[in-house]
């Protein structure tokens, strides 16, 4: 038997006057747990319906266990593929057990009744999804979340080789979201089922799936491991609004950033220049991105902790060679960025001979009348490895109007004031 569960080759599908899928190719092996993510209207559900054979692709082919799906009848498909969709109807008062038993229908002959094995499989599926105590309740009386779980149970009772799910966690509380995802994962691994799930929650996809397919406008924009597909560049391009991605336990974690509207992107009143390094900028960057500011950071050595963070958050940086002192050319470039920003913030970065040049940017900004803020001056002595040179510069800066900030919240207040001031003066 083939190890390939589903193979999709160049599938195109359009409704009259509307192209939905423009050539999609993908493969899901048995044991794979694949997530399909993408913005509304990117064709995720249509892709699922084409894979399940419910919609017939106008071009391209879908193979289930190497069988061309267009040559299989509904019953033959239903014995291999089960689907948890979005359009299930719960208007008629079947009991939960009856509903789950419907999953056995493709496996029993026209004049057969449910065998004890069928009932056993239904009960097992109900146990897995945590619905056995509702077995005799009418499905009409269940909550939306309970109905989702009953649907998953029905799909499991179907004993599929391929399981397709459209938003299986919708309407579930966090506890059941995690349970369903873990269940799907173990189903894929232990029973060698190819599981393909359309998910809205990218973090859920990232945490549980082997592969992520990122769809955009009817095509696959990116596909691969969560770490390779879920990047801030990809997501920003596909969703059209900036998102930040950081790594949590080796998997990408996405968090939203307040949208920068078209008019404010490239707008000096929303841009902040951050001087950091060595991982000192992390909390500041996350906070001010969330507040809706655009950030340029520099000068950073390639490979520095803050540089890596900026890369994952999609923040523009002024780069210097790894472990090298800041060169005059980079400093000059950074000064230009600082002048195009509404303010400059200096993090709790330690100073040594290598990055002393960064203080020139601070001094220059002050001279040119840009607002400057310095985070956590109290402990500066312990971070000064320049024999007091850096301290001198900073004290001069504070004397000529730079603000002292204690925490990130203050930084946001400071930046809002600067933004307001820049807007009024422009």
């Amino acid at each position: 038997m083939s190890s390939v569960g589903i193979r999709v080759e160049g599938v195109e599908f359009s409704y009259p006057g509307r192209e939905v899928l423009r050539g999609v190719t993908l493969e899901a092996g048995k044991g794979d747990f694949v997530a399909v993510v993408g913005p509304n209207g990117s064709g995720k559900t249509t892709l699922l319906r084409t894979i399940s054979g419910f919609l017939k692709a106008q071009r391209g082919s879908v193979y289930v266990e190497e069988n061309d799906i267009s040559r299989l009848g509904p019953r033959e498909i239903a014995r291999r593929v089960s689907v948890v969709g979005q359009s299930s109807i719960f208007d008629f008062p079947f009991s939960v057990e009856e509903y789950v038993l419907f999953g056995r229908e493709p496996h029993i002959g026209p004049f057969e009744t449910y065998s004890s094995r069928d009932r056993e499989l239904a009960r097992e599926a109900m146990d897995w999804t945590g619905v056995p105590e509702m077995a005799s309740r009418p499905v009409t009386e269940l909550s939306g979340g309970e109905q989702r779980r009953v649907l998953v149970a029905r799909a499991l009772a179907q004993q599929p080789r391929v399981l397709l799910l459209d938003e299986p966690t919708q309407g579930l509380d966090i506890n059941y979201q995690v349970q369903v995802m873990a269940l799907l994962r173990s189903l894929a691994k232990e029973r060698q089922v190819a599981v393909i799930a359309v998910l809205h929650d990218i973090n859920l996809a990232s945490s549980y799936c082997d592969r992520v397919i990122l769809m955009s406008q009817g095509t696959i924009y990116a596909a691969g491991t969560p770490a390779s597909a879920i990047t801030s560049e990809n997501l920003s391009a596909v969703y059209g609004s900036p998102v930040a991605v950081s790594l949590e336990r080796g998997r990408p974690f996405v968090w939203p950033v307040a949208p920068v509207t078209a008019s404010s992107s490239g707008d000096a009143t929303r841009q902040v220049f951050v001087v950091g390094g060595g991982g000192t900028a992390q909390r500041l960057l996350e906070t001010i991105l969330m507040a809706g500011f655009r950030v340029v950071a520099g000068v950073l050595n390639v490979g520095d902790a803050d540089w890596l963070l900026c890369r994952s958050l999609g923040i523009e940086t002024v780069d210097e060679e790894p472990f090298s002192p800041m060169s005059a050319a980079r400093i000059e470039e950074a000064k230009q960025h600082a002048l195009r920003s509404c303010a400059l913030v200096l993090t709790r970065v330690p100073f040594g001979p290598g990055n002393l040049g960064n203080l020139e940017i601070v001094e220059d900004a002050l001279e040119m009348g840009k607002p400057v803020a310095v985070m956590g001056m109290d402990d500066f002595a312990s971070r000064d490895y320049t024999g007091g040179k850096a301290k001198q510069v900073l004290e001069r800066a504070l004397a000529s109007g730079a603000e002292r900030l204690v925490d990130e919240a203050q930084a946001v207040d400071f930046l809002r004031r600067c933004g307001e001031w820049a807007r009024r003066s422009s």
């Binding site: 419910f54 019953r75 689907v83 109807i89």
Partner: protein, 349 residues
Amino acid sequence: MSRRSRGEGRLGARAATGLLLALTACALLAAASTGAAHVGPRTVGAMILARFGLLRAVPWWSEVDESIVFDIRLPRAVLGMLVGGSLAVCGAAFQGLFRNVMADPFILGVSPGAALGAALAIVLRVDVKLFGISAIPLFAFGGGLLTSVLVYSLSRIRSTVPVHTLLLTGIAVGSVLSSLTSLVMVLGQRDLYQVFFWIMGGLGGKTWAHVRMVLPYAALGIVAILLSARELNLMLLGEEDAFHLGVSVERTKLRILVAASLAAAAAVAAAGVVGFVGLIVPHATRLVVGPDHKVFLPSAMLAGSATVLAADMVARSAFGSQEIPLGIVTALLGAPFFLFLLRTKGAGK
């Protein structure tokens, strides 16, 4: 386990079928015992058993009595059972197919189509026979079948037939056909009375010949629907889910539409337009036995038979010797009962 699995307050499959079988048998016996000539249920029961060789007794009834029961009352009762069973099963199948408890055979325009066919046959005095079937039921049957084909093809959008389009098309086509029937009645005034009474529905004067005419179509339709019970169950979950559980959705729709057209057209051909049986009987039955078509369809069939038998007894005895059309009785008693269900059981959910 199987007991627990059923929804609460639902009757088991066996209990429901047994009860309904007994009820229908009683209704049949009662129908064969009701009439001007006094032949009681005990005598009728004995006559039937003796006829099938199950009772060895010296007949205490006259030949006239026997003729009244076997040539007048029984064919009428058996036809009533066929009509009631057909209409109820038809309505049940449509309610399942449309996932709408307000659907009945008339909504699809099948019955108005059959009525128009019958009216044409009467007014035009068509005198053809096909396979031994006379013109009126043949035209009624053809009218019903043509209407469903028309509604089906008018509702077709590419390769699918959305059920709500089917429903609305059925209503529109049905009202056109009803107007045409009225037009035929106005133009063929000398036959107005016959067409009018035919349409109002009734079992008066029906013989075994009528039973033989109707039986094959009704049986074929009913059997095809009963065999589609599992597909109908899955259709209740939505067409997409039905497909994913192995149902050929469009093929099932077509099969049910053809089967229901056969059964409904046969019923209307035999008894005219008997209203509300196809709507209320399935509805009330579902409330008692639950939505599983494997139990629900046979139950609805038996309940439909018993209902029409009871209604026919009212039709021929309520106003003394003046028999009233069956359709009036079913509508008069059915509609208030329906309102009662609507208010007490929240049927319009």
